[in-house]
Amino acid sequence: MLAAIVLFWYAAAIWMNAPWQDTLNSRANLTNVPFTDFALSTWAQAKPVLPSPHQVFAEVWNATIGTDITSKRSLAYHAGITLGGTLLGFALGTLLGVGLAVMIVHNDASNRSLMPWIIASQTIPILAIAPMVVVGLGAVGVTGMLPKALISMYLSFFPVVVGMVKGLRTPESIQLDLMRTYNASPWQVFSKLRWPSAIPFLFASMKVGIAISLIGAVVGELSNNAGGGLGVRLLTGSYNGQTVQIWAALFIAAGLAAALVIAVGFAERLANARMGARA
């Protein structure tokens, strides 16, 4: 599967870079270039339309392992900035989502009044909100990680609310009746019944939430290129036609997202083991 993708990619690179290679060749007065040479040079352009896999991975390698981590040219440095915003936003979003879900489940009035707003919030395109948040907060002197984190939070609280409302409502009436026979307080019903029942839903929501948190952070960075981050690398790469740099940043972002989702999955397995889930 992977091999097929790589093959297709190389083929696409030849095809997409061919017009520019033709131009280069005619400028250099090269004629009758053999196909193999032609293909090899399409894979080695400085600013290709579609960089070839080995160019991208060489760039990923050079910009992470091959570069001092404190350098502004290091992708690891930029990934760290993005990761910070992502994690802060994810934490805030999860807290907000859980808090809203608790209110919705325990209070009928907030159920009816909050839910429509929560759904409406997600119909506004994030690309419209992000610059407003970043520029708006920048105008009052708040810059750096927080504006990005707010955008991440804005995206990631939603799956958590939806999942946790469902999760906190899963206890069956007989399990709730049992609590009632013990004259349990609302807090005890929450902590000993509703919360543990909702844990599987929490993890499912957090897996979605952490991935879109990363998207939120990158989108936030696109609106302010002073602070650095993978989004800024994407942006400057596209200003300068540095396609290799764009693709390298994309790959790092995708790898980061995968790593974060796997980390949440790992936490989920730990929780499952403690809560006696079937192996």
Partner: protein
């Protein structure tokens, strides 16, 4: 004196559920006294209001007419005083808690001390020693139900409400638990209200058998047992036992022959006299044609 010792006292008690397709009279005009230390069984076909009556005692349902007291107070006050332990028809164990943690649940909620000893004692009582660290899914259905009984016993309430606790168990386990329950009752002087579908079980356990009938749910007979307090399992072969069982069978099978045949069948496995009968059709007054 007899009034003071009354644990449950129902007078003209009625409960009607309003549902989307009309009212369901789950209980009508129930008059019943349960004295301290009695073992009262409720027997009757599905949908006759046995569960509903237990739930009214437990303050899980509100009666719509008549009155009821529990320990001389309202069911609500009795519940707030944690006056009873309730064993539901399904085990209702919390799947994320081990067996001992499930038994510990009421102890945690009520803030009782001495947890380890209580857990050990009640698990021993239901023969689950050695399964403390297992999760519910690792146990058979019968063991899960025993764990739920242990949970209801762990905080030592004086009144036990048990809704068909042994309904899902096989004969042998059931016999064993029946005699264990009798011993526990004799030793602790608890008051027990016990719902069952089995006539032999009701006769074996009870000091008083309440026979109920559906459509509308009501008490049709209350039979005091004349069996001795000491009851080994083989008392079930004695003429006294069989005579009492026959009386209960007659009581829950009034007049018609269909009913009589139907009722006789609920000493066996089938819970409802009409095999295709759901509680809904029972209560709507349209029994399916019986063959």
């Amino acid at each position: 004196m007899s009034l003071a010792a009354s644990v449950v006292s129902a007078k003209n008690l009625g409960l009607t559920f309003s549902t989307n397709d009309g009212d369901v009279i789950a209980l009508s005009d129930v008059n019943l006294e349960i004295g301290a230390g009695e073992f009262v069984s409720f027997i009757g076909p599905s949908g006759c209001g046995k569960t509903t009556f237990l739930r009214v005692i437990a303050d899980l349902e509100q009666p719509t007419s008549g009155s009821i007291t529990v320990n001389g107070t309202s069911p609500s006050d009795a519940r707030l005083n944690r006056a009873y332990g309730y064993v539901f028809q399904a085990p209702a164990l919390y799947p994320w808690r081990t067996i001992e943690q499930n038994v510990a649940l009421p102890l945690e909620i009520m803030g009782l001390s001495d947890r380890a000893a209580r857990i050990q004692r009640t698990l021993e009582l239901v023969n689950l020693t050695g399964f403390e660290k297992k999760f519910p899914w690792q146990l058979s259905g019968g063991m899960q139900q025993r764990a739920s009984i242990a949970r209801a016993l762990s905080f030592d309430a004086d009144l036990l409400l048990m809704d068909e606790p042994f309904g899902a168990l096989d004969e042998i386990v059931r016999d064993h638990l029946n005699s264990e329950l009798l011993k526990l009752w004799a030793r602790t002087k608890k008051t027990i209200a016990f719902v069952t579908h089995s006539i032999p079980e009701a006769v074996y356990l009870s000091t008083k058998i309440v026979v109920m009938s559906p459509r509308p749910g009501r008490v049709t007979d209350i039979i005091e047992s004349d069996l001795p307090a000491e009851r080994p399992l083989d008392i079930r072969e004695t003429p006294e036992f069989l005579r009492l069982a026959a009386r209960v069978r007659d009581a829950c099978a009034p007049a018609t022959r269909t009913r009589s045949r139907a009722c006789a069948s609920f000493s066996t496995a089938r819970p409802c006299p009409f095999s295709s009968c759901s509680p809904r059709s029972c209560s709507s007054g349209t029994p399916p044609p019986s063959g």
